[in-house]
């Protein structure tokens, strides 16, 4: 791949002063940061720091009480998750959220939902434009399948797959949407070393080959320091650090948060 696609560009998404609370509990408290085009951003922090809530806010599942989100410079108010998907934001989940009753292929095809436009009447005929559309999208999905090296399980129901493969299929489903921004919620949780290495390779390749911007949550510090361009650290719903992996590693407040210094 040329160096060109890896060049970090302008701001793709900016969250500004986000505050989110459930009842009296503040999950997020005035958090602001940016995600730049083509970069890999890691969001880290101790358990309960509000990392997953942040992703949920970005793709519209939770609605913050305060603050703004701007994707490609356009600010958005309360919106449903599918609007985020239409804008080009795809994600994977901490606890795998695949469609258990469907095959690997169907799961990945579901990711291309928004690329398929034919009405249900054409589909009922399964002929002409509808068939053409189905085949074209199948071709794209086969590329994703090749990329992730899951050809052999194409027609297996995903419920029967081992955990590591399920995570891979979930990544495939997100990739099938050809996202501008890919959110990964603990893509390596519960994996062994080899599976983690595979997953790292896929993430770097996606970033490299397709130029996809990636924001990921991860607990494995080795992985985070290796693959990310920038790191945002959350603790108790607040942002406590934001910078290059090396800078964050040296940050005193981050060390305190991880070692559990008491908060006044």
């Amino acid at each position: 791949m040329t160096e060109n696609t890896r060049k970090i560009g302008n701001t793709l998404l900016r969250v500004d002063d986000i505050t989110l609370s459930f009842g009296g509990v503040h999950a997020l408290n005035g958090v602001s940061f940016e995600i730049k085009e083509h970069e890999i951003l890691a969001i880290i922090g101790p358990n309960g720091a509000g990392k997953s809530s942040m992703l949920n806010v970005i793709n519209g599942f939770y609605h913050p009480q305060k603050g703004t989100i701007a994707f490609e410079g356009r600010e958005r108010k309360r919106m449903r998750p599918h609007v985020a998907a239409e804008q080009g934001i795809a994600r994977t989940f901490q606890n795998i959220a695949l469609f258990k009753g469907m095959s690997t292929l169907d799961n990945i095809m579901t990711g291309r939902m928004l690329k398929m436009k034919r009405s249900f009447l054409w589909q009922a005929l399964y002929w002409g434009p509808a068939l053409k559309e189905e085949i074209e999208n199948r071709e794209f999905c086969e590329k994703v399948i090749d990329f992730l090296e899951i050809q052999a399980i194409r027609k297996t129901p995903v419920g029967k797959l081992p955990y590591g493969l399920q995570k891979r299929v979930e990544l495939g489903r997100a990739l099938a949407a050809e996202p501008r921004l890919l959110l990964l919620d603990e893509p390596m949780a519960g994996m062994n070393v080899e599976e983690k290495e595979d997953m790292c390779r896929f993430i770097l390749d996606v970033n490299d080959e397709f130029g996809t911007t990636i924001a990921l949550i991860e607990h494995d510090m080795g992985v985070v320091m290796d693959i990310s361009d920038r790191v945002v650290v959350l603790d108790y719903g607040r942002k406590i650090a934001d910078g290059s992996p090396d800078a964050v590693r040296a940050n005193g407040e981050v060390i305190d948060a991880y070692l559990g210094v008491s908060h006044e």
């Binding site: 949920n56 599942f61 989940f93 959220a97």
Partner: protein, 309 residues
């Protein structure tokens, strides 16, 4: 037309307050019956997360068994005991054949399984005791009397009183006994309850048995009033909108919901029914529940659900 729907019925009510009071009381008493059936639903839903569609048929089954035994010359007290025993055995059977094999299935699968169960029970009950209408008489007084111009019936009062006693007993059982505490723990979190050593299977048997007995009480009341027959289980379906109104996990909700539905449909039938050609009782409760769902899906007393990813 608008006048007929919006104003005239209220004028009618104001015209004859005694008649209106009688309508409300009849509604309240029907509501007590609905509440009794709904109570069984709530018990099972709280403790096992199963939405037991078969509760209505359990009411029928209990009443059929009781009447069947009495028809065969068994004295009333013995028939009652035997019926209770049969309901306990039934609870064991349901746990053994169905529940333990459906652990960890989605709620909707369990729901459909209880639809299957309701057909098995109906077939079983009618095979054993026949499907003709039976009169149930266990010696509840049935005389009418007047209080300040309003006609009341001893039987209805008896039914209301026994409903109240039942609720009180259940409340004590849930709050002050060891089993009651275990039940509440199970309702909160199955896994956590298991991990502190509460025997889940035993708890389920107990809950289904208790629901069976609540069903028996409801069955006796309904049966003594209008005969024991298949339509009993259809009337019991009315407990479903009651649950939607009251919330699936709330005992007070079941009571209040039952009373609201009971009064609501009687008043609607008497005052608005004639405008639409009558018999709106058949669907009024469901449509009321439907409208209610749109505004408060968790019910009057239910807890709000926060979804997570």
């Amino acid at each position: 037309m608008l006048y007929d729907v919006l104003i005239a019925p209220f004028l009618d009510m104001a015209d004859s307050p005694v008649f209106f009071a009688e309508v409300v009381i009849v509604g309240l008493l029907t509501g007590v019956m609905y509440s009794l059936v709904a109570l069984g639903f709530v018990l099972i839903f709280k403790a096992s997360g199963v939405f037991n569609f078969a509760q209505g048929v359990m009411v029928l089954f209990a009443a059929l068994t009781l009447v069947g035994l009495m028809e065969h010359g068994v004295p009333t007290w013995l028939a009652l005991i035997l019926t209770v025993v049969i309901m306990v055995v039934l609870a064991y059977g349901i746990e053994w054949f169905m529940l333990r094999r459906l652990v960890n299935q989605e709620g909707i699968i369990l729901f459909m399984a209880t639809i299957g169960l309701s057909f098995v029970l109906q077939g079983l009950g009618e095979t054993m005791w026949g499907s003709n209408v039976k009169a149930l008489d266990i010696g509840i007084p049935d005389a009418s009397f007047e209080v300040s111009g309003i006609l009341l019936n001893e039987f209805d009062l008896f039914a209301a009183a026994s409903g109240a006693v039942l609720v009180a007993v259940l409340a004590v059982f849930f709050h002050y006994t060891r089993i009651g505490r275990a039940l509440r723990a199970v309702a909160d979190d199955h896994q956590a309850a298991l991990s502190v050593g509460i025997p889940l299977k035993t708890i389920w048997v107990i809950v289904w048995a208790v629901a069976g007995m609540v069903g028996l009480v409801a069955g006796i009341m309904w049966g003594a009033k209008s005969g024991v027959q298949f339509s009993l289980s259809l009337i019991a379906l009315k407990a479903l909108p009651v649950l939607i109104l009251g919330g699936f996990t709330s005992v007070p909700g079941a009571i209040v919901g039952g009373l609201i539905i009971g009064v609501g449909e009687k008043v609607a039938e008497i005052y608005w029914g004639p405008l639409f050609g009558g018999a709106i009782e058949n669907w009024f409760a469901y449509v009321l529940a439907l409208v209610f769902l749109l505004f408060r899906p968790q019910g009057l007393f239910g807890e709000r659900i926060i979804e997570r990813v």
